[in-house]
């Protein structure tokens, strides 16, 4: 989201907050979020895919809602209205190529109506078939999770993404030579997929409360958090949506303050640091140890201010509409150990992985009684962190980044146990405690910063060169 999109989102949020109440607010938020899915989607070299990809996002939302909701609720008036809002708006967006060709919301001209109609009918048939199947076959829920993961893997893997681009290019008469791995920029899909997987898993475990289609779709594609999170929980989001909300002066000030902080973090601090921050070019151009540390520190703070700035913006805008999105960052670089760092960095993603991977994985591995405890911890930490790495992109560098943190968490776990057992009275010595706290913050910060060397660069060779420069070894 650029400044213009943020400005429009703020004005829209203010209008919604001031003018609407109760159910009307939910319908309006649904409509605005559906429009935002198309508006925020950047242009894609594949013809009309800036229309098709958002449409597929909405199709997945509708499909998952149908297979996770009670059959009896389908015929309710609210759900009918919700479905009509989604289908109606998408149809209008497609027809805008004929109706208002100079006022398009999509990045390029939407596809011809006949193509759109075929797409809608085909999707409707598939959805109806799967929904029917889901009434009698529980595995449909697992299949939907697998489908979402497969799409994520394709989008996150440069090789698969390139192949997908070449394959899809055939339908748009695009030459394979022009295809690139970055063609399929599906806005917000990482977040959409994780919200949908959360809902599907909660349905499987019987923890999912009943949501109307409007509530569900608004939760998944809620416009302030569409592009950069946070990943809320459906039941918490729905609670806010159902609350009677009227935008007060206090709420406006609190939302506005958060928004201002976010804008400053992102567009002043982060964008300034971005000029200096470590990247592939600087990795080869900088050779002096001191300067390499400076560009690494710049990256370390840039990524924090960029991401947490966007989160503040999302939280601030959402607050104007009465939605209190969860926090994503809480001073992570001031934490004395890696566990606390991860409890305060991209918190909603960490919590998601804890709920849907780490805890189930730990329960499963504990079944193997012959595996020593330390190995269980190591495997659990490593697997979780590597998966978090892969969520950012399926490349060796993200695997290394995840491994770096997995090993770090394991070592910190062992160290904590060692200190607790061998130095039980350490807490009574306040000076030593303060020194350890300070040393812990410094050490954790640098461990995380060094981890960014993998995250910021495109391949392990460059990362190795940077490590050499950082350690003062000439290249």
């Amino acid at each position: 989201m650029g400044l213009f999109e943020i400005g429009v989102s703020v004005l829209t949020a203010l209008l919604v907050g001031v003018l609407t109440r109760d159910t009307m607010r939910t319908y309006l938020l649904l409509a605005l979020s559906v429009l935002a899915v198309y508006w925020f989607q950047p242009v894609i070299p594949l013809r009309s895919f800036d229309f098709w990809l958002p449409s597929l996002s909405l199709a997945l939302v509708i499909l998952v809602w149908f297979i996770t909701s009670q059959t009896e609720s389908w015929s309710s008036r609210e759900n009918f209205y919700g479905l009509m809002i989604i289908i109606g708006l998408v149809t209008i967006l497609d027809l805008s190529r004929y109706l208002f060709p100079n006022l398009l919301l999509t990045a390029t001209i939407p596809p011809q109506f006949i193509s759109f109609l075929v797409f809608v009918i085909a999707l409707a048939v598939v959805i109806l078939f799967l929904v029917r199947l889901s009434r009698t076959h529980r595995w449909i829920l697992s299949a939907a999770i697998i489908l979402l993961i497969v799409i994520l893997v394709i989008l996150k893997s440069p090789i698969l993404s390139l192949r997908a681009s070449i394959f899809l290019g055939q339908f748009t008469n695009r030459s394979a030579e022009n295809a690139s791995a970055s063609d399929l920029r599906w806005l917000g899909f990482s977040y959409i997929a994780f919200r949908l997987i959360h809902v599907l898993r909660d349905k499987q475990t019987g923890r999912l409360p009943e949501l109307t289609l409007s509530e569900f779709a608004t939760y998944v594609v809620f416009f302030p958090s569409l592009s950069a999170g946070p990943i809320d929980r459906a039941e918490r989001f729905a609670q806010d949506l159902r609350k009677d909300f009227a935008l007060t002066q206090e709420e406006t000030l609190l939302g506005g303050q958060r928004l201002a902080i976010g804008l400053f973090k992102k567009f002043v601090v982060a964008d300034t640091l971005a000029l200096l921050a470590l990247n592939d070019a600087l990795a080869t151009q900088v050779s002096a140890t001191g300067w390499m540390w400076i560009v690494l520190y710049a990256y370390t703070f840039q990524i924090y201010f960029d991401f947490s700035g966007y989160t503040d913006i999302a939280i601030g805008i959402a607050r104007l509409i009465g939605i209190k999105l969860p926090e994503n960052f809480s001073s992570p670089y001031t934490k004395p150990n890696l566990t606390q760092f991860w409890n305060n960095w991209h918190m909603t993603l960490t919590q998601w992985f804890r709920s849907y991977f780490f805890n189930p994985f730990n329960r499963w591995i504990r079944g193997y009684r012959n595996i020593p405890a330390w190995l269980m911890i190591l495997v659990g930490q490593l697997a979780t962190m590597v998966l978090i790495g892969l969520w950012h992109g399926i490349t060796w560098n993200f695997v290394l980044w995840g491994t770096w943190h997995g090993i770090g968490l394991f070592l910190q776990n062992r160290w904590s146990d060692f200190v607790r057992l061998r130095l039980p009275n350490i807490g009574q010595n306040t000076r030593l405690q303060s020194a350890l706290q300070f040393g812990g913050v410094l050490f954790t910060f640098h461990y995380v910063a060094l981890g960014w060397v993998f995250f910021a660069l495109s391949n392990p060779t460059l990362s190795w060169q940077v490590f050499l420069a950082l350690s003062g070894v000439s290249r």
């Binding site: 002066q249 206090e250 406006t252 000030l253 506005g256 300034t272 000029l275 200096l276 070019a281 600087l282 151009q285 900088v286 002096a288 300067w291 400076i294 560009v295």
Partner: protein
Amino acid sequence: MQQNKPRLFGVLFKAIVLFALFNFAFIFLRDIPFGKFSLYNSFFPGRERLPFGDHPHAYNLNMFDLDAMFASHVLTGTTKTPDEYRVLLIGDSSVWGTLLKPEETLAGQLNSLAIPACGKTAHVYNLGYPYISLMQELMTLDEALQYQPDMVIWLITLESLPSDKQFGSPLVANNPDRVHELIAKYGLEAYTNDEALIHASKWDQTFVSRRRAVADLLRLQIYGALWAATSIDQYYPESYERAQIDLEASEDFHKLKSLKNTLAWDILDAGMSAVPNTILVNEPILVSNGLNSDIRYNFFYPRWAFDEYRMLLGEFAVERNLPYLDLWNITPIEEFTNSGVHLTPAGEAMLANKIAPAIQMNCNKQES
């Protein structure tokens, strides 16, 4: 005690008032040369050439604040020692050094020769800038006078001379006050009412209007760190398109039939008088041997125009008794890079070898 909660409209009102004050305060601050406050030559080493370019990995930028540009230059941070013979190079992109590293430019090559000049050693500073306009070069030269040059070497080419393109350079167009000062100082009345000059209104002087300039100034300082870290100030592509050899069969030069009364000799005259010891150089151009090379020398120049220019420039130098080097054809075709005036490092070395004796020969002119 009950704490008063801030009221929305109070906060908004204060924010608007503060912003308006801040915005319009810039009108009264316009005469403060903020550009002179620089991190270069203190925190970071000065740049070898003036800031120019906009490639993200070149750590450089196009800007219009001449104070800031000079403040970032190594010239500003170098105290003139008794044994330094200070030489300034003025010119276009060929002097600035497109596609060349600082040490490969003409200034770099001359410095590597460690030219003895009147018992001192010549230290050459690159003040070239990649737009072709004599007015821009005069502006740079005039700004550089405060740095005590012993000699100026002004490399020119025909393309910078047409009177009607003197304000085409963005650096000139965006510095109307400086241009007016130059017009008054050097008696260039013919240019007073040029429509290309941008006159800043009061609104143009507010923060909102000048935000780009403010951002550029800050960006220049930040790039200082990367200049210090990488010594890179230009993007060097792995390959580029070579200068055109096969040319169109066109004799057109700015739709002129003759160069008489169309060139800005008055600006050249003004510049030559600014520093008594100035060597005028007709810089090398590519002399094509390809298609239609009997009509044109290169992409820029039909033969008739360049020949007439050379004749006029020669007469100009003789009339004023100026030290003049006509080096237009000293460089072979293969020593040009992506344009008919951009040289390879070897081409720059050839040029340096021609200019070095002239520095030695003319060094004592100021003293005499």
